[in-house]
C-alpha cells in the first residue's frame, strides 16, 4: 500500500505553484544487516520564496531526503524511487553533469557543523569564490570581489582581510556565516539548511537565524529548514512537515501544526519539551520507548508501539493499516478529526503549561 494517491500528488499543500515538488520518494540503503528504508514514501512541496520546516529526530529521514534532492547520496549503496521535480525538471533521473550545474547554483546547501563542512586545507575565500567561478564563468578577480561582498553581507568584519583566512582561524559563528555566504553566492532559488545552528551557541544561533531570515527577504530564495528543534522551526518556517521513521506524519502551516497539532507524535514532541514560559510544576511527558528501527519498521502506523492513543482508534487498525497523510493540512493518524481535536484540547494542551 502506498502513502499517496495520484490526486494528492498533483496538488501542493497550500494551493499555489510549487517550486520543488517531491512525490512518493523512497530511499533505501543496503547494509550488512539488511535494507534500511531511510525514506519511505514521502511527498512535499516547497513554494518559491517560502520556508518549509522539516522537523524530526535522528533517523527520521529528514537529512537523507535533502541529500537525495541534491543527488548527494551514495549511488552504490542506495536506491532512489519516486519523483523530485525542481522548477519543472525531474532530478531522480538527471545525470551527474546536470546535477553539477544545479548544485551550488540553483540549489545550495548549508550543513550542521561548519567546522567539518569546510575544508581545512583551503582559504575561506577560495571556498566561497569557487562555486561562483564555476557557475557564472567569472574570473578569479570577479569571484574574489563577489566573495568579499558576500562575506561583508553575512557580517564578517574586515572581509577583504578575512578572505585569506583558513576556516580554523574563524570562530564557530563566523564559520557558519561563511557557509551561508558560500551557499548564497550564486543567488540560489532554493537553500537547504540542514540543522544549520545545532552546533552553535544560543546567542550565536539567534544571530544566524535572524540573518538567514533577513537574507531570504533580500535574495528571495525558498528554504528547506531541517531541525530537531521545534522552537527554532517556529521562528523560521512558514510550512511544517513532521517526519517520523522515514515518513511524513503531519503537515500544515507552522501556526496550525504548533497550535493545534493532530498527530500523537507531534503531541509527544511538544509535551516532552520544557518551555521558558512553561509551568515548572508540570512534569514533562516523554514519548515512551525508542525510535523504531528502519531495518524492520513496525507494521501499520510506524508510531503505534509508542502511541498512547491506539485504544481510542480501537481494533487492530493501528497495527495493520498504514494511515494516510491527507492532502494539505493533516496528520497520518487513524484518529478521526473530532477525536484529534478533543484529545488535544482535553489531554495534551493542559500538559503544555
Amino acid at each position: 500500500m502506498t502513502t499517496l494517491t495520484k490526486t494528492e500528488g498533483e496538488r501542493a499543500p497550500s494551493g499555489s505553484e510549487a517550486f520543488l515538488s517531491v512525490r512518493d520518494l523512497r530511499v533505501r540503503f543496503s547494509t550488512e544487516d539488511g535494507i534500511v528504508k531511510a525514506v519511505d514514501g514521502l511527498s512535499f512541496d516547497v513554494e518559491r520564496g517560502k520556508t518549509l520546516g522539516i522537523v524530526g529526530e535522528s533517523g527520521s529521514g529528514k537529512s537523507v531526503t535533502n541529500l537525495t534532492v541534491l543527488g548527494l547520496h551514495n549511488p552504490q549503496t542506495s536506491t532512489v524511487e519516486g519523483e523530485i521535480v525542481l522548477d519543472g525538471k525531474e532530478l531522480v533521473t538527471a545525470t551527474e553533469k546536470e546535477m553539477e550545474k544545479l548544485r551550488g547554483n540553483k540549489v545550495a546547501m548549508i550543513f550542521q557543523d561548519p567546522l567539518t563542512a569546510l575544508s581545512p586545507y583551503y582559504t575561506v575565500g577560495r571556498q566561497i569564490a569557487e562555486p561562483f567561478m564555476k557557475h557564472t564563468g567569472a574570473s578569479k578577480k570577479e569571484a574574489k570581489a563577489r566573495a568579499i561582498e558576500m562575506l561583508d553581507k553575512v557580517g564578517i568584519p574586515q572581509p577583504a582581510m578575512r578572505f585569506n583566512d583558513y576556516p580554523h582561524q574563524f570562530s564557530g559563528g563566523m564559520r557558519q556565516r561563511a557557509m551561508i555566504a558560500m551557499a548564497l553566492i550564486c543567488d540560489p532559488d532554493l537553500l537547504i539548511a540542514d540543522e544549520p545552528t545545532t552546533a552553535l551557541d544560543v546567542t550565536v544561533q539567534a544571530q544566524i537565524l535572524d540573518l538567514l531570515k533577513d537574507l531570504q527577504q533580500e535574495f528571495g530564495s525558498a528554504i528547506i529548514f531541517i531541525t530537531h528543534d521545534l522552537g527554532v522551526i517556529s521562528k523560521m518556517a512558514d510550512d511544517l512537515l513532521v517526519m517520523y521513521s522515514g515518513r511524513a506524519v503531519e503537515r500544515g502551516t507552522v501556526r496550525e501544526v504548533l497550535r493545534a497539532p493532530q498527530h500523537p507524535y507531534t503531541w509527544g514532541l511538544l509535551s516532552s519539551m520544557p518551555r521558558l514560559g512553561g509551568d515548572t510544576a508540570q512534569a514533562l511527558t516523554p514519548i515512551p520507548g525508542t525510535p523504531p528501527s528502519l531495518l524492520n519498521p513496525p507494521t501499520g502506523c510506524p508510531f503505534h508501539p509508542r502511541c498512547g492513543f491506539t485504544s481510542e482508534v480501537g481494533g487492530t487498525r493501528c497495527t495493520d493499516e498504514r494511515p494516510q497523510l491527507p492532502d494539505g493540512r493533516g496528520a497520518a493518524c487513524h484518529l478521526d478529526g473530532e477525536q484529534k481535536q478533543t484529545l488535544f484540547i482535553e489531554q495534551i494542551k493542559p500538559r503544555l503549561g
Binding site: 546567542t203 544571530q207 537565524l209 522552537g231 497550535r259 516523554p286
Partner: protein
C-alpha cells in the same frame, strides 16, 4: 548609578537553606599555554574558570548555564576533583577538598558523583552493564545488604531498565538507555551530590524528557543535590531551583529560578534568554524582548579587562573596562539574587520600545528592509 550595592559580598549559605553541602569560593582554573623561543616556557593561560563562587545546599538542585567556553564544564570537573584547581576553595560538608590527596578524597569521592554528556563514550564498551554499575561499589569496598548483585538489580529497576539486562553490553542499548546506565552507576554509591554535565544534550528530544524526569525523580525522592550543567535554558529552568549564569569563566548572575528567568538584571542574562527560540503555542503574541549580540564569545586566553561582557554589551561605559563589577545584590534585586554589573538592566524580559541589535550585518539588512 545610585542603584548600586546594598550588601557586601555574601558568603556561606544562600537561599535560607541550612548549611550548604558544597561551597566554592574564588575557584580558579588556568590551563597554561607553552611557547616562546628559544626555550619553551609558560607564555599565557586559558583562564577557563576565574574566581567562581557557588553554593549547593543539601538536596538542592542548582543549574549552571552559559555558552561554550564559559567554564561551566571545567567548574563541574573541579568540583568532582577530576581537575586540580589553580586557586580557590572547595568545601564539601565543611571539609576543604580543594587540594585533598587521592587518599583524603576517597570517602568524599563516593558522595560526589558525575553524569557525563556523551552516553556513548562514557561507558566502557568491553564491560557488561552489571560490571559497570557494580565496580564503583567494589572499588569503594561497599557491601550493600543482600549483596552487590541484588543492589545492581535494584538500581537497574530504579532507572527504568530491565534487571535481566545485567549481562548485556553498552552497545546493545539506545542512547537514552545508556544514559540511564550512567545514572545507575552514579547512584550505586548513594551519593549526596551529583554533578550532571550536559546529561541530556546528546539525546533526541523525545528521549531527553525521559532522562530529565528520571533525574528529577532521583533528586526529589532520594534527596540528592544536583549541580546541573547545561546550555539549554529551558531544561535548566525546568530542573533547577537556583541558577548561576556564567560568562568567560565568571559567574555574572546567580539567583532563584524566578529571579533569573523573570527578573534578570545582567545584560548577558537578558541576551541569553532573548536568544532562546521559544515555541509559541497560543495566540499569545511575541512579547519578549529581542536582543541580538554581535560576534562570538572572546577568547579566554585574553579576556577583556574589567567586566568580561563589556565588549559585547550595549550598556558598556568606560568604567566597565577599568573596574570589574563585583557579584553582589544590587538594589532592586531580591534576596540572594546577585548580579555582577555596573549598569544593570530593568528586571523584566518584556519587549522594549526598540530591539537591541548589535550584529552589524543584521542591523544593515534590517535597516535596508525598512
Amino acid at each position: 548609578m545610585s542603584d548600586k550595592l546594598t550588601l557586601p559580598k555574601p558568603q556561606g549559605p544562600v537561599d535560607g537553606a541550612a548549611e550548604p553541602l558544597l561551597s566554592v569560593e574564588g575557584l580558579t582554573k588556568h590551563f597554561p599555554i607553552y611557547g616562546g623561543f628559544p626555550i619553551k616556557r609558560k607564555v599565557g593561560a586559558v583562564q577557563a574558570v576565574d574566581g567562581v563562587d557557588l553554593t549547593v545546599g543539601v538536596g538542592e538542585s542548582v543549574g549552571l548555564v552559559g555558552e561554550s567556553g564559559c567554564g561551566k564544564s571545567t567548574t563541574g570537573r573541579l568540583i568532582t576533583r577530576l581537575l586540580e584547581p589553580t586557586a580557590g576553595r572547595i568545601t564539601y560538608s565543611g571539609q576543604d577538598i580543594s587540594h585533598a590527596s587521592r587518599r583524603q578524597l576517597a570517602p568524599v569521592r563516593s558522595e560526589i558523583q558525575m553524569i557525563f554528556q556523551d552516553p556513548y563514550s562514557s561507558l566502557n564498551p568491553r564491560q557488561t552493564v552489571g560490571t559497570i554499575i557494580k565496580s564503583p561499589m567494589e572499588v569503594n569496598g561497599i557491601k550493600p545488604k543482600g549483596g552487590i548483585e541484588k543492589r545492581v538489580h535494584e538500581l537497574l529497576e530504579l532507572v527504568g531498565l530491565n534487571p535481566e539486562h545485567y549481562n548485556r553490553f553498552p552497545h546493545e542499548f539506545s542512547g537514552g538507555q545508556r544514559q540511564r546506565i550512567g545514572v545507575a552507576r552514579a547512584l550505586s554509591l548513594n551519593p549526596k551530590l551529583i554533578v550532571a554535565d550536559e546529561p541530556v544534550s546528546a539525546l533526541d528530544v523525545s528521549i531527553q524528557a525521559q532522562v530529565v524526569n528520571l533525574l528529577q525523580k532521583v533528586q526529589e525522592e532520594m534527596g540528592i543535590a544536583f549541580l546541573f550543567i547545561a546550555h539549554d535554558l529551558a531544561i535548566v529552568r525546568h530542573f533547577s531551583q537556583r541558577l548561576a549564569v556564567m560568562y568567560l569563566g565568571k559567574v555574572v548572575e546567580v539567583g532563584d529560578r524566578d529571579s533569573i528567568y523573570n527578573r534578570p538584571r545582567h545584560p548577558y542574562t537578558h541576551a541569553l534568554l532573548s536568544a532562546v527560540p521559544e515555541v509559541t503555542l497560543d495566540d499569545e503574541t511575541e512579547d519578549r524582548e529581542r536582543i541580538r549580540l554581535a560576534g562570538d564569545v572572546p577568547s579566554p586566553i585574553h579576556p577583556p579587562s574589567g567586566c568580561r561582557f563589556r565588549t559585547r554589551c550595549w550598556k558598556a561605559q568606560d568604567k566597565c573596562a577599568t573596574e570589574e563589577p563585583p557579584l553582589i545584590q544590587i538594589s532592586g534585586n531580591r534576596d540572594n539574587h546577585l548580579t555582577a554589573c555596573h549598569f544593570p538592566e530593568d528586571p523584566t524580559t518584556e519587549a522594549r520600545a526598540e530591539d537591541v541589535v548589535l550584529d552589524p550585518a543584521l542591523a544593515a539588512l534590517e535597516k535596508e528592509a525598512e
